[in-house]
């Protein structure tokens, strides 16, 4: 298949997986594999920072050797990927043997692993850089312009996939918090009703008793309410007149 066609097919395939419930690690692993097939590179890997500008992590690699090398980059805190992440700009290296001390620990290590040129493209959406796509070659020489464009397009897809997955996770957490807040409130309202009936109080008085008991016994209001509903805490024990 010609490269253009393979690239288009990859785009379509990846876009197709951007549905509601996708496995982001699987998607990124497939993307790393496809980089090796589509671009003139020997190995590819993706590093992504934790949300909120945290540390970089290796999330997907096209081979184990690549993964080990990427982990070394993180450990040594140097290499094309950290540089690319911190500047938000592509790192395009022609010859690893002549980097002149730019990566004193990483360069010999990568040469030993068989790579001759290393590149990284930013994973960026507007001004936010969330990681970088590493593209390593066993041959010397730079990536041609078409490969840089294609690689950047693949990096952009990966970026959208990750941000979409994070937004979905945030929504899930917020929705759970919303349900929980509502449930807590319901339990408190129910307890007010139970107490109002048992002690012949209005709702405001009931609430005041629940709150006073919670404060003086250092128990969460929601827990006091739950005990009132369960019947394990009686109206009598909440009555400040009889309460010891």
């Amino acid at each position: 298949m010609p490269r253009e066609a393979l690239l288009v097919e990859t785009m379509v395939e990846l876009a197709d997986t951007l549905v509601d419930d996708f496995d982001v690690v699987e998607l990124l692993t497939r993307l790393a594999d496809r980089c090796v097939e589509v671009l003139d590179v020997s190995a590819a890997g993706l590093m992504v920072a934790r949300p909120g500008g945290g540390e970089l992590q290796v999330v997907a690699s096209s081979s184990d050797a690549m993964r080990v090398l990427e982990l070394f980059e993180l450990q040594a805190e140097e290499g094309p990927c950290p540089d690319c992440y911190h500047t938000g700009e592509p790192v395009l290296n022609e010859n690893l043997a002549t980097v002149d001390g730019r990566w004193p620990r990483f360069a010999p290590h990568a040469l030993e692993a068989g790579f001759r040129s290393v590149h990284a493209l930013p994973m960026r959406l507007r001004r936010q850089t969330i990681g970088a796509l590493n593209l390593f070659r066993e041959a010397e020489g730079g990536l041609d312009e078409a490969d840089v464009h294609a690689g950047q397009a693949l990096a952009d897809i990966a970026t959208i996939a990750i941000l979409q997955q994070r937004a979905a996770a945030d929504a899930r957490v917020l929705n759970e918090q919303l349900s929980q807040a509502l449930n807590t409130r319901i339990v408190i309202e129910q307890a007010k009703g139970v107490l109002a009936e048992q002690a012949n109080l209005d709702m405001e008085q009931s609430f005041a008793r629940l709150r006073t008991y919670a404060r003086s016994h250092n128990i969460r209001l929601a827990d006091v309410a739950q005990r009132v509903i369960d019947g394990t805490l009686s109206a009598g024990s909440l009555d400040p007149g009889t309460n010891t």
Binding site: A171, S179, A181, I186, K192, A196, E197, I229
Partner: protein
């Protein structure tokens, strides 16, 4: 296209001093709108309603557990009834008559969701029959998405375990129903869950909104004593 719709709705929201529901009704050119939250497969309350009719539509679905929003949420898709007086399929037996009586001729429910996370449903109604136009349908879908994100964004600012102040202030979460459940539970020596079922059954049998029955219990006009449910207000 969807981006354009989204931007237009967001700019309306910026300008509007009113609520999400008012914008929802306006952009879709409907008579009214409501936003309902769901918990499990039942409504848990309203974020907003635009008028008495949309409030009734929400109240009936809350009381009866049936209607376009309940279906839209449970079926995860828009539920459209363009001609409520001559419906294409017979559904919502208890919901339909009182809503028609209030002047509703068409109702539409759109699930409120962000990705796979579902919160509730957007309810739109119109006082004349007829299907949604293509633009109206597309606007309603975008509106439901924007509303879902807006509700979650409000909750994001709330202290842990508490409902966001904006939701608390603008919404109606039928607290009186839960207060009444507590009172009836104590009257009948049953659990609050059973008490709520008794309240629902009473409301249904007497053709009254659940919230209204609950108000009577809380104001001690109505008492459940296990043999007969005496109305002390008469």
């Amino acid at each position: 296209m969807a981006v354009d719709r989204r931007l237009r709705i967001l700019s309306e929201l910026d300008r509007a001093t009113g609520t999400l529901c008012e914008v929802g009704a306006r952009v879709t050119e409907m008579s009214g709108a409501g936003i309902m939250l769901m918990s499990g497969d039942l409504p848990s309350g309203s974020v907003c309603t635009t008028n008495d009719v949309s409030a009734l539509i929400e109240e009936l679905q809350y009381s009866l557990g049936e209607g376009p929003c309940v279906d839209a949420y449970n079926q995860k898709r828009p539920v459209l009834e363009p001609d409520l007086a001559n419906p294409s399929e017979s559904r919502w037996p208890a919901f339909t008559a009182p809503v028609l009586e209030a002047g509703v001729r068409a109702v539409f429910g759109f699930p409120l969701q962000v990705g796979t996370v579902r919160l509730g449903a957007l309810n739109l109604y119109r006082d004349r029959s007829g299907p949604l136009g293509e633009d109206q349908h597309a606007d309603a879908l975008v509106m439901a998405g924007v509303a879902a994100q807006a509700v979650l964004a409000m909750q994001a600012g709330a202290p842990p375990g508490e409902l966001a102040a904006e939701l608390e202030a603008g919404g109606d979460f039928r607290y009186v129903v839960h207060q009444a459940s507590g009172m009836v539970a104590a009257q009948l020596h049953v659990t609050v869950g059973v008490a709520l079922i008794r309240l629902r059954a009473y409301a249904f049998a007497n053709d009254r909104p659940l919230s209204q029955v609950a108000e009577d219990v809380v104001s001690r006009k109505l008492r459940f004593d296990g043999h007969e449910d005496r109305d002390l207000g008469a």
